[in-house]
């Protein structure tokens, strides 16, 4: 998902613009086409925001239903993906508010049962480290997590991230930068 050069905000490819028009007029198949083409990227953002597969699924499902209901108000000033991601991030904020406090991060005991062969051990260490990143992400406050997830994990540009979060491009850049510092700090602390 990262490394994608697709600009979700380019003035939409004509096919997508057509899908949006049809879906706005109530065409479910057109909406299904939009969901199909954006669900993986949206889910990736949801997963990194929530840190949990079930939560990510729930929040994405709610997001898509909300998108369907509000499509008539969507004027196409941003790409569908940007617009849907904005809904998604807002829902993550709401879900977080409703569920707080998150509680202490679970102790990671996966490494204890890992096989002992050198290759497996390397893999286990790598997996363990990625697990640590997942936990570290969850430890970040949401206003830091969102720009970090969008840029580093979602592959969105700073301009897109700004549009999604309703802030300027430079503000998005600063926040993403701070969030990376914060993530590095947490990872360092946990070593």
């Amino acid at each position: 998902m990262s490394g994608s050069t697709v600009d979700a905000d380019r003035p939409a490819d004509p096919l997508e613009a057509r899908w949006v028009d049809l879906a706005r007029a109530g065409d479910e198949q057109a909406f299904a086409a939009l969901v199909r083409s954006h669900q993986d990227r949206l889910y990736a953002v949801a997963l990194r925001m929530t840190g949990d597969r079930d939560d990510a699924r729930d929040v994405l499902q709610e997001t898509l239903i909300q998108a369907w209901r509000h499509l008539p108000g969507f004027r196409g000033e941003a790409g569908f993906s940007t617009w849907a991601t904005r809904i998604l991030i807002n829902r993550c904020h709401n879900a977080h508010r409703a569920r707080r406090p998150v509680g202490p991060l679970p102790e990671d005991d996966t490494a204890a049962d890992m096989p002992r062969t050198p290759a497996a051990e390397t893999l286990a260490v790598a997996a363990h480290r990625r697990e640590a990143v997942r936990h570290a992400l969850r430890a970040l406050p949401l206003d830091q997590r969102a720009p970090l997830v969008l840029t580093t994990f979602g592959g969105y540009t700073h301009a897109e991230t700004g549009r999604i979060l309703g802030i300027s491009e430079s503000a998005a850049k600063v926040r993403a930068h701070r969030a990376r510092r914060a993530l590095a700090d947490v990872l360092q602390e946990w070593r």
Partner: protein, 210 residues
């Protein structure tokens, strides 16, 4: 302890800059110095190790659950049944008319017909926009399929249930109800009524206080 240990490395380089270089792939401020400076290289190696799992995690292929689309679309269809809007297209914009509005117009139209004491029911969208009405899709049980398609358009099918006064010719009343509903909907909403299905569900004595 933080990832950025001090304000300056012994060589004078700023660790925060080196971290940014690793996490954001920015160009080194002083490439020649960095190549030869052990402090910078150590710090870079450290940050690189710290950030590698982040990159790995970001590169993980994440796919939405296989059944997500299906369950979203099931909910969308459910919503369409309950909350559809008819849409009138105009070069200056579009007008959406909520189902309950069409339903209310239809009910009031039906109740304005003499000998109709009560009307219940609503409407639904007949056919996709820009498509001629297809009786096979809107009549009878297939009408449900037209609803399930959920495509809003400018054509509506109205299902209305009425109670009529006892003793009046029901088929004649139903015919007037049909005409009046279509006329009122055309007049008030600009929508085309493809079909009015009238179900007579009760008869009442004219002075029964219904």
């Amino acid at each position: 302890m933080t990832a950025v240990p001090a304000d300056r490395l012994p060589c004078g380089a700023v660790p925060a800059d080196l971290l940014t270089q690793v996490t954001e792939g920015t160009a080194p401020r002083d490439p020649a110095h960095q190549r030869s400076c052990p402090h910078c290289r150590a710090a870079l190696a450290e940050f690189e190790e710290l950030w590698t799992p982040v990159r790995e995690l970001a590169a993980e292929r994440v796919r939405a659950p296989a059944d997500l689309l299906q369950s979203v679309m099931a909910q969308v269809r459910e919503l369409s049944r309950a909350n559809w809007s008819a849409v009138l297209h105009d070069p200056a914009g579009q007008t959406r008319i909520a189902a309950r509005v069409v339903g209310a117009v239809a009910r009031l139209a039906a109740e304005s017909v003499p000998h109709v004491s009560l009307a219940l029911g609503g409407g639904r969208v007949a056919t996709p926009p820009d498509t001629a009405a297809d009786p096979a899709r809107v009549a009878g049980p297939d009408g449900e399929a037209a609803t399930a398609v959920g495509t809003a358009g400018s054509r509506v099918v109205v299902d209305v249930q009425i109670a009529v006064d006892h003793g009046v010719p029901i088929h004649a009343v139903a015919a007037v109800v049909r005409e009046r509903i279509a006329a009122h909907i055309a007049q008030q909403t600009g929508l085309v009524t493809t079909e009015v299905n009238v179900a007579v569900v009760d008869v009442r004595t004219p002075h029964g206080g219904g």
